[in-house]
Amino acid sequence: MRVSIVREIGERNGASHRSSGSTFSLRRPAASAVPLTQHPTLISRTMLSMLTTKEMTVRIASRIALPSLMLLVAMVGQVAADAKVTSIAVYPTDIALSTAVDRQRYTVQATRDDGVTLDVTTQATIRAADPKIATVESHTVYPAADGKTELLIDFQGHTTRASIEVAEVSITPAVSFKLDVMPVFMRVGCNTGSCHGAARGKDGFRLSLFGYDPDGDYHRLTREIGPRRINLAFPHESQLLEKAVAAVPHTGGKLFEPNSEYYNTIYQWLEAGAPQDEGEVPAVTHVDIYPPAAVIEGAGSKQAFVVRAHYEGGVTRDVTHLAAFSTTNDASAAIDEHGVVTAASRGEAFVMARFDTHTVGSQVLVLPKDLQYTPPKIEGNYIDQLVGAKLQKLRIVPSELCTDEEFLRRATIDIAGSLPTADEYHAFLAETSSDKREKLVDRLLARKEFSEIWAMKWSELLMVKSNNQVSYKAAFLYSSWLTDKIANNVPLDQMIRDLLAASGGTFNSPATNYYQIERDTLKTAENTAQVFMGIRTQCAQCHNHPFDRWTMDDYYGFAAFFSQIGRKQGEDYREQIIYNRGGGEMQHPVDKRTMAPKYLGGDMADTKGRDRRAALAEWLTASDNPYFAPSVANRVWAHFFGLGIVDPVDDIRVSNPASNPELFATLGKKLVEYNYDFKRLVRDICTSQAYQRSCVSNESNKHDNRNFARASVRRIPAEMLLDCVSQATETKDKFRGLPLGARAVQIADGQTSNYFLTTFGRSPRETVCACEAKTDPTLSQALNLINGNTVQNKMRQGGVIGQTLAAGKTPQQIIETLYVRCLTRKPSEEETKRLMQIVASAPTAQEGLDDVFWAVLNSREFLFNH
């Protein structure tokens, strides 16, 4: 079938198969790779051509049980909805075709007045203004003759148009290995890690993982001695093709049909003698996915996506059939190999298409059909505006605001890492001013504990820890440096510039420990990207990143910033001197190229005569840097919500998009606007309604945990929890290098820990990953609290009950004190009644109250911030 289509097109265009000559031009795919029968929109088109909407509704209604027509239900639903279509759009709007074999799929999207979008590609009336220039068939525009024309779309009275430009129809380019064959390997999955892309290949054949080394792949395909991978005399007998179509046993199974477009591409390349591309082939500059967003309603409704690649020199190409599609949420919006999304349960998804090294995505919201939703009024600051807008899109109603008691405890733990004291509790509840929450946040932000928590968080990310290379003194000074910077409100950008460009002794200039704690050049580069940009580049060390845009060139270009770090021992053997050697280059491991320093996702760096690290620090902290500020802001956000807008906070990539991109960008902008004073950002966050929401969910938001419609219940992190336990029991802890009674968040050296902290997931500071500090509840934590000696010993040491009894308080008063002290609330009447019974039945009041105290400390309400 495939061959016949090619022939047909060739004849239609009056073009003969010949090479484009010495100048290299892109070869367009000859025809759709999608079998017509598999494309749902094609089915409906065929049907609809015979039926009017009305007729169809009637006929469908009478044959509703027919499974073969089930698919149509959704389509009917779309067009039959009550809401009115307000606009239509066609994608792409600028169709450019060159050479005889080019083509371009398009998609038409209608938007209703309630924001829901419909894929009306099949229902709209579409034609080329001048059929002599271009023809339209199966939602695809084909070239006919050089010239310009327009694609005209009409749907329910709405019209739109796309420009069409056709050139070089007389040329049929030869199949290119890199441009045509390599994408097939990628699309059908030959070069994945589980197949031939594995480091040692598979079943004796190796391809570079995700095609990072096309020249190497060419060599292995055509020159490696072994089984007959290619047979130029009888191309169809090439093992390459026989395996792919499962004509001979293939561990990977059947990948495509004989005579499919993929088959033909490879066949034609073999037929041409399996030539290597001459000279440089144009690189893909960017890839588009259309439509950019979709809000689809009702399970089963569909939206087809179109993917287009842009090459150097401005050439475009329809790569829908060569792109690999994926979705972040299969349960809501599954996407098939042809780029068609089918709606399922309510939710949101990010559908992605990957072609070459580029991954692009589009947001799809899936709404239940006939949802009753009254948008609540959006109040609060800019954060609430953005969160509210997103919630409205999702038709979610946020939870109510939390109580003053809840807010006091939540904010005090989050901002200051401690429990509110009884005095603070009473004062806050008694306060009547309308801005008392803002005032509380301001009071908490002014406390030293705030900077200590953030110094600890940065210490975790920067792995401040003594080891054989880093003496305790160096780790201590490094931690002190960080604490000092944060306590003195040094803008973050300044701090990071000082850190990245640090030179000198690890004692004298403690920031240099950044380069002493991690001495490996590549890891230093990886850590820098992960900590300060939230980007994980690790994959690209060995191959192009499979889920992001980073290539090996990006990786080694970025690592080149750290290739000139010199180290020598200081006079004190414990001290290392870190300096700029001014020499030393980074080599690309595949072809041994010297990699010039290149900013990740940016331009080549001009580092001549400079410390490369200083240039990097400057670029990173520049106000227009797209990574640093949003990633830091996102980390700050995640501390207060237990979840980043991009989550995990240090895995920002195209395929892990922000749940609220506008909010993500705005927080970054605000941080820059605040001159990197993140304290002000914290104030914005903590005074937002989003932060003040109750943990109690409502019907519309109970299944959503990514859009901040309600507060999440979070286990208090290890250090802060220990500090809270010590605070509640009035006991003191002793840590190395700190006076008795110091708080766990003040621990300088990651090596210093105790059993409690380790059990509760204190960051071991072994990697820069934000996941090092764990807040997952575990059984050993519960057992530690119940049976371990921490709580019991602390209760005994503190002697809180004994003292209060001695002070003449009644058990009821004491129970109330304990509740306020630990849970920041008074016990309910029922609680008081039952607890009093327990106390009364105990041998002594002391024992009974001890039990109550123990129970309160073991309660989930105490362990969690809510």
Binding site: G504, E571, Y579, L738
Partner: protein, 811 residues
């Protein structure tokens, strides 16, 4: 004689020391130890009561001080672990650290440091760990304190506006433990006005100073830099108005020269003064002195008699280089970050100079210099250096052509500041000689303990630079009654044994002996003295962090020890690939029966000796086996054996005389062949003899290393023999295989003593006899049939016979 240990009464630290010492050298009860001196420093011009704590101090007799200025008024051992002394510190006693050893009647202690200060002494009084309640002290005093675990000590002084307040701490420098102090000056509102962790001038010890911004109280804080500390973390904190410059510029000149210098780095600003460079030792110590006081420790300058040239800024480019003659000492300051200094000097073609940038050592400048040398014509870089001498730079320069050359100096991190002073000395390449004493016990500096009427030998090491040849060593200023026997050090050797002998009537005494080395040939003019490092503080992996460098060797004459040892000088040489038994004879004092372990002081190159030989209890002789390898140097060596025995609960030592050990070439060159033999048979092994030296009489040869069951009789050959044939008999029980560990030992007797030579090589292969020729397979035996008579056993055939038989059968 101290015989009882009192370790349990001493500090825990000392317990560790005792354990360490006992592990290292099986505890010498006669070796006194000082673990602490209290107080750890004294004010000069006063008389002080001092306690020396340690072990085995009960026959303490004398303090051996390395520098003048301190008079011992009284010294009394109160207990085996405590000696009390009354010391008078002279008014002009040098400020800073002094070294001392304690001599007892039976030995000499380890080296310890104490400090001498100019200010009144105050003891730290705990509690003073709270900022709110610091210990009040007067300005201009020295506090003796301790930073215990995570301890912070606060002191408060009152100062008037404009008064300088300087705090200098001697912590690590006292040499007790790896104590890295941090010192800060705070105002009453807790603001740090100055702080110091490590000061390049004072290594890990801190120094900070301010000018009081107003009348009021100022708090001095001292702690360990990372909140460590322990009972041994003692410090002396000098707090006062005294001058304490961080640098002096120019930092050197000729001894006795009058020099205009600038004192740099004081809170009150730079100060210029004309001084006369000191002529006294230790060399090059300058103490800044004003009417406000004197610096508690010195600034160090270089003393060398070459022209001094001071940099003339701008000299940031080669064209602007400050010019000077050669040899010359250029003095400069990398005054601001990024500053680069250039100096220019002329050189003739092939003229050689040492170009040494002195910054960190000895000036203790913060500068980490990087040196580059360029030729003026054409600007070619001749060479350069960063870190050859610690952080300092050294380059051995040879002028490719007659021209002017430019020296470029910058900081490694391109930092700079007014205290970044340095000197570049361009000097002709001169011979240098330094003597050291190798440690006999790890990490303990070697001393000479000579029992009266007895001998002790120690090894001296020489480091020759820029010359070669034989050296003579002399020991000057030994205690009365001690003589030294020091052979000439060979040109190709860097060590030589020194034997010290005390007469029987010498009285126990101690002296710091000046060891002088000179070349035998007088065409090289150089004199070397001892430079003995005592490691006081060791870091991770026993790295040398802080110690003392002595210019003299501690030597003491002690009471008798109960034995003498003598070496019976061999009358024959030890030959290459040979062995020998060195006989040691002990003369025991009546009643002394303990075993004496004996070992060579050193092994000449290529000679190995057993270190585990003892003269058994009640015995008087032992043989130390020596072996020589094939490349042992052929010459006469002076060797010596030291005996060590337990005595009176401790250990005592005495050495033999220096005896001649001759190393000669082999007499017989033997070659052992490869032979094969079958079990139960015998074979001949013909060892080829290639005589290398003539000898009289017979050489007795013996084949060793044969497998069990194989034997050969010794044989004798004379000097004319060209081969020696051994008859080897191999029994049936011998295990077949290849035996390659054969040794042919020859013993030639000369002067009644054996000369033994051991030749290795060859192979004996023991084979199983080949199986007999297979006969026709026997017919399967019917079970019921009686056993037929056994055919007569065939004689086993040799391989040759088998082959012949096979041939015959095939025909």
């Amino acid at each position: 004689m101290p015989s009882v240990r009192h370790a349990e009464q001493t500090l825990p630290f000392f317990l560790c020391l005792v354990v360490a010492v006992s592990l290292l050298e099986s505890a010498s009860a006669v070796e006194p130890q000082i673990s602490a001196i209290a107080p750890s420093g004294f004010q000069r011009g006063t008389e002080v009561d001092v306690q020396f704590r340690g072990a085995r101090l009960d026959d303490a007799a004398e303090l051996m001080l390395y520098e003048p200025g301190i008079t011992v008024k009284e010294l009394k051992a109160e207990a085996p672990n405590l000696v009390k002394a009354k010391l008078a510190i002279a008014d002009d006693c040098r400020l800073g650290l002094h070294a001392v050893r304690l001599r007892s009647q039976s030995g000499v202690s380890n080296l310890r440091l104490f400090a001498v200060g100019a200010l009144q002494e105050v003891e730290e009084v705990e509690p003073n760990s709270d900022f709110a309640s610091p210990q009040p002290i007067e300005l201009d005093s020295t506090i003796n304190g301790v930073v215990k675990t995570e301890d912070v000590d606060y002191f408060v002084v009152e100062a008037k506006k404009g008064e300088p307040i300087t705090a200098e701490v001697e912590g690590l420098r006292l040499g007790y433990t790896f104590f890295d102090p941090y010192v800060a000056i705070l105002n009453e509102s807790r603001f740090e006005l100055a702080r110091s962790d490590d000061a390049p001038l004072l290594r890990q010890d801190g120094l900070c100073s301010i000018v009081a911004p107003e009348d009021g109280k100022y708090i001095i804080q001292i702690r360990e830099s990372a909140y460590g500390g322990n009972e041994q973390s003692r410090y002396r904190l000098h707090v006062g108005r005294f001058p304490r410059p961080r640098a002096v510029f120019p930092a050197g000149g000729a001894s006795g020269q009058s020099l205009d210098v600038t004192w740099i780095g004081e809170a009150t600003g730079p100060r210029t003064e004309t001084i006369v460079l000191p002529t006294t030792t230790p060399k090059g110590l300058l103490y800044a002195k004003t009417d406000r006081g004197i610096s508690p420790s010195a600034n160090v300058v270089r003393l060398i008699d070459i022209p001094n040239v001071v940099e003339a800024e701008p000299n940031n480019s080669r064209n602007e280089a400050t010019a000077g003659p050669a040899p010359v000492a250029f003095n400069g300051v990398i005054s601001v970050g990024g500053d680069i200094d250039h100096f220019r000097f002329p050189a003739k073609k092939n003229q050689r100079f040492e170009i040494h940038v002195y910054a960190r050592s000895p000036l203790r400048s913060p500068l980490d210099p990087v040196l580059n040398v360029y030729r003026v014509t054409g600007g070619a870089r001749i060479g350069g250096n960063d870190d050859t001498v610690g952080p300092d730079s050294y380059f051995r320069f040879t002028a490719p052509e007659a021209d002017d050359y430019v020296i470029q100096v910058r900081d490694h991190l391109r930092a700079g500041g007014p205290e970044y002073t340095y000197r570049v000395e361009v000097t002709p390449i001169k011979p240098k000689l330094t003597l050291t004493l190798p440690e006999r016990v790890r990490y303990i500096s070697t001393t000479a303990v000579v029992p009266r009427g007895n001998r002790i030998a120690i090894l001296a090491n020489a480091r020759r630079a820029n010359f070669g040849g034989e050296l003579t060593l002399t020991a000057n200023g030994m205690p009365t009654g001690v003589t030294a026997e020091i052979p000439t050090m060979a040109a190709n050797r860097s060590d030589v044994p020194m034997l010290f002998t005390a007469t029987a009537d010498a009285t126990p005494a101690g002296a710091l002996v000046d060891l002088v080395g000179k070349p035998v040939e007088d065409k090289v003019q150089v004199e070397g003295h001892l430079k003995q490092r005592t490691m006081l503080i060791r870091g991770q992996n026993n790295r040398d962090v802080w110690g003392h460098e002595a210019d003299r060797m501690a030597m003491v004459v002690t009471n008798e020890v109960p034995f003498h040892v003598d070496l019976v000088e061999p009358k024959v040489p030890i030959v290459r690939d040979g062995s020998m038994q060195l006989k040691v004879v002990a003369r025991r004092q009546e009643g002394f029966a303990a075993p004496i372990s004996v070992r060579m002081l050193y092994n000449p190159p290529g000679i190995g000796s057993s270190a585990a030989i003892r003269i058994q209890a009640n015995q008087n002789e032992a043989l130390i086996p020596l072996t020589a390898n094939g490349s042992a140097e052929i010459r006469d060596w002076k060797v010596c054996v030291t005996g060590r025995a337990s005595h009176a609960g401790g250990a005592v030592e005495s050495s033999t005389q220096l005896a001649t050990l001759r190393v000669a070439d082999a007499y017989l060159g033997l070659t052992i062949p490869k032979v094969a033999v079958e079990l139960g048979k015998s074979t001949q092994m013909v060892v080829a003899v290639e005589k290398k030296q003539d000898f009289a009489g017979k050489a007795k040869l013996q084949l060793l290393g044969l497998p069990s069951g194989a034997t050969s009789e010794p044989i004798e050959i004379d000097a004319a023999a060209t081969q020696a044939t051994f008859e080897i008999k191999v029994e049936d029980k011998t295990r077949p295989g290849r035996y390659t560990n054969l040794v042919c030992r020859s013993v030639i007797t000369e002067n009644g003593e054996p000369i033994t030579e051991n030749t290795r090589g060859g192979e004996l292969r023991v084979d199983k006899p080949l199986p007999p020729k297979p006969t026709a397979p026997a017919a399967p035996k019917p079970v019921a049939k009686p056993v037929p008579p056994k055919p007569p056993a065939e004689k086993p055939l040799s391989r040759l016979e088998q082959l012949r038989q096979q041939k015959k059968e095939s025909e």
